[in-house]
Amino acid sequence: MRNLLSEKTVSLKPSGIRKFFDIVSEMDDAISLGVGEPDFDTPWHIRDEGIYSLEKGRTFYTSNAGLKELKEEISLYTKRKQGVTYDPANEVLVTVGGSEAIDIGLRAVVNPGDEVLIPQPSFVSYEPCAIMAGAVPVIIELKAENEFRLTAQELEEAITDKTKILVLPFPNNPTGAIMERSDLEAIAEVIRKHDILVMSDEIYAELTYKEKHISIIEIEGMRERTILINGFSKAYAMTGWRLGYACGPKEIIEQMLKLHQFAIMCAPTTSQYAAVEALRNGDEDVAEMRTAYNQRRRYLMHAFREMGLECFEPFGAFYVFPCIKEFGMTSEEFANRFLAEEKVAVVPGTAFGDCGEGYLRISYAYSLDNLKLAIGKLAHFVEKLRKERQE
C-alpha cells in the first residue's frame, strides 16, 4: 500500500507523558502527583459569567482575534503587571490555550532550516511545533547548578547564523525555575546582539513565590522582538476552558492571526466571556491559590530535606524537580518502580527532554493531605532504595 501518512508527522516522537499516563490510568488506586493543572475549581464568579453568557445566547463566533472586551482587558493586564502596553486592535490575539499560540507563533516566524532554540527540560510541545513549522529545534540543556535558569553563556554558545527565535519557558514546567530581572537582562544583551526573536511562554506568570514575576518584555529592546504567551489555565484554574493569548508586534500578530483564522476561526466564545470576568475580578482568587501553592511548596521542600533528597528550591509554577541520581537508576525506572511498589505516580524528568534524566517532576497541585500521604510513601520508597544499595 502507498504510504498514506505524513513522514514528518510520523517522525515525531509521541509525548513521553502519554506512555506513562497509559500505565497509571490502568491502576485504580494509584495516587497521582503527575498532574499539570490546578486542583482548584475555576472560581465560581468566573464560571457564572460563562453560564450567563450561554443564557443570554452568546453562542456565536467572536471576531477571529477575540472579543474586543477581552483583548482590552488583556492589554490592561500587561500594563498593570508589566507596565507594557499592547494595542488591543492589532497586537493581541486570543487563542485556544497557550498551546495554540506556541504552534502558530513559531509557524508565523520561521522559514525552512531556521533554528529554534529550546531550553530543556521544558514543556513537551515546543520541539514538535518547531519541527512541524519546518524549523530545526536546537536544544539548550539547562543545568541544576544554575537552578535550571538560562544563562547568557549557554545562549551565546547555542546561537548560529541560522538562529531565528529563542523559546523562553519561565516560570518553568517541569522544573519550577524562574528567571529574575538580572537573569533576563543578561540574556537580553545576547538576544539584541544577535538580533533574534523571543517566544516567552509565561503561562505560569502568576505563580511565583519570591518576587512578582518579571517578563522579558520589561527589558529594554525586548518588547519589539518578543511574542508573549499567556493564558487562563494556570492562573485562574481554567485548563478545560482552553483559552490563552499572544501579544506582540503587530507584524507578527497579523501573521499569527491568519493561521488562527484558517485553522481555528476563533477561541471558544463562552470561555472568552468567562475570561473577561477573570481579568476584571480575579486577582483575589489568584492570590489565594498562590498562597496555597506556596504552603505546599514549602511543605515539599521541607519533606525532601528531611529525607535527604536533593532538590533545588524552585520559585515558580507548581512543580518541584528533585534529583534521584543517588539511586543509580533512570528517571523512568524510578517512576515505574515507585508506581508499582508504592502506587504513586510522578512523571520522569525525561518526559521533558533528555536532560531531565536523573530527575522527577512532582506536581503540588494537590491538597496538603494528599501530598502528605504521597510524600510518606516517597520517604518509605527512598529508604528502601537506600537499603538496597547498601546491601
Binding site: S15, F20, S125, Q295, Y299, A351
Partner: protein
C-alpha cells in the same frame, strides 16, 4: 505571617504546630508565640469543631430569629443584645442593618423548645417589639464548608 496564619487556622484549627511552621516558612516557636498573641489580643476567640448534626442520631433544631427592638438611651442596642446573648441556647447575635435590628440564631432540642424560648423569654423582654422565627430545614454550607458534597478529583491522572 499573621494574616496567612489566621486564614489557615480558621479552616483547620487542629493543624499540627510543626506543620504550620513548615508551610508558613517560619520557626515553630514563632508560630507558638504568634498564636499566643492572637489569643491574648482576643483575635482568636476559640477553636471549635464543625459538626454536621444531621448525620448523628442526636436531635437538634436551629432557627434564625429576626428581632425588632427599641434601642435604649445611652446604651443603643448593646444592653438588649447582651440580655439576649446570655442565654446559652443562643448561638449568635448580630446587629443588622435593614428591616429589623438583631439577628439571633438559636439551637434547641426540639421545635417546642425553640418556640417556647421565643414566646416566653425573647418576646417578653421590654424592649423587644416583635420577632419573626425562621426554622432551618437544611444546612448546605456553613463557615465556608460545604456539607452536602465531598471534593472529588476528576482530573486526568497524568498531564503535561
Amino acid at each position: 505571617m499573621r494574616e496567612e496564619l489566621l486564614a489557615i487556622v480558621e479552616r483547620n484549627s487542629r493543624i499540627d504546630l510543626k506543620e504550620l511552621a513548615v508551610i508558613l516558612g517560619v520557626e515553630e516557636v514563632d508560630v507558638v508565640n504568634e498564636l499566643a498573641a492572637l489569643e491574648s489580643e482576643g483575635i482568636i476567640c476559640g477553636y471549635h469543631t464543625m459538626i454536621n448534626w444531621e448525620k448523628t442520631s442526636i436531635e437538634k433544631v436551629s432557627a434564625l430569629i429576626e428581632v425588632r427592638v427599641t434601642p435604649q438611651r445611652g446604651q443603643g442596642f448593646d444592653s438588649i443584645a447582651e440580655r439576649i446573648y446570655k442565654y446559652p441556647e443562643v448561638t449568635s447575635v448580630y446587629l443588622i442593618s435593614g428591616g429589623y435590628d438583631l439577628l439571633v440564631s438559636l439551637e434547641g432540642k426540639s421545635l417546642k423548645e425553640i418556640s417556647s424560648f421565643v414566646s416566653d423569654k425573647l418576646s417578653t423582654l421590654d424592649s423587644v417589639l416583635s420577632t419573626a422565627t425562621h426554622f432551618i430545614l437544611k444546612k448546605y454550607k456553613d463557615h465556608g464548608t460545604t456539607m452536602a458534597k465531598k471534593y472529588e478529583d476528576t482530573r486526568e491522572k497524568v498531564t503535561p
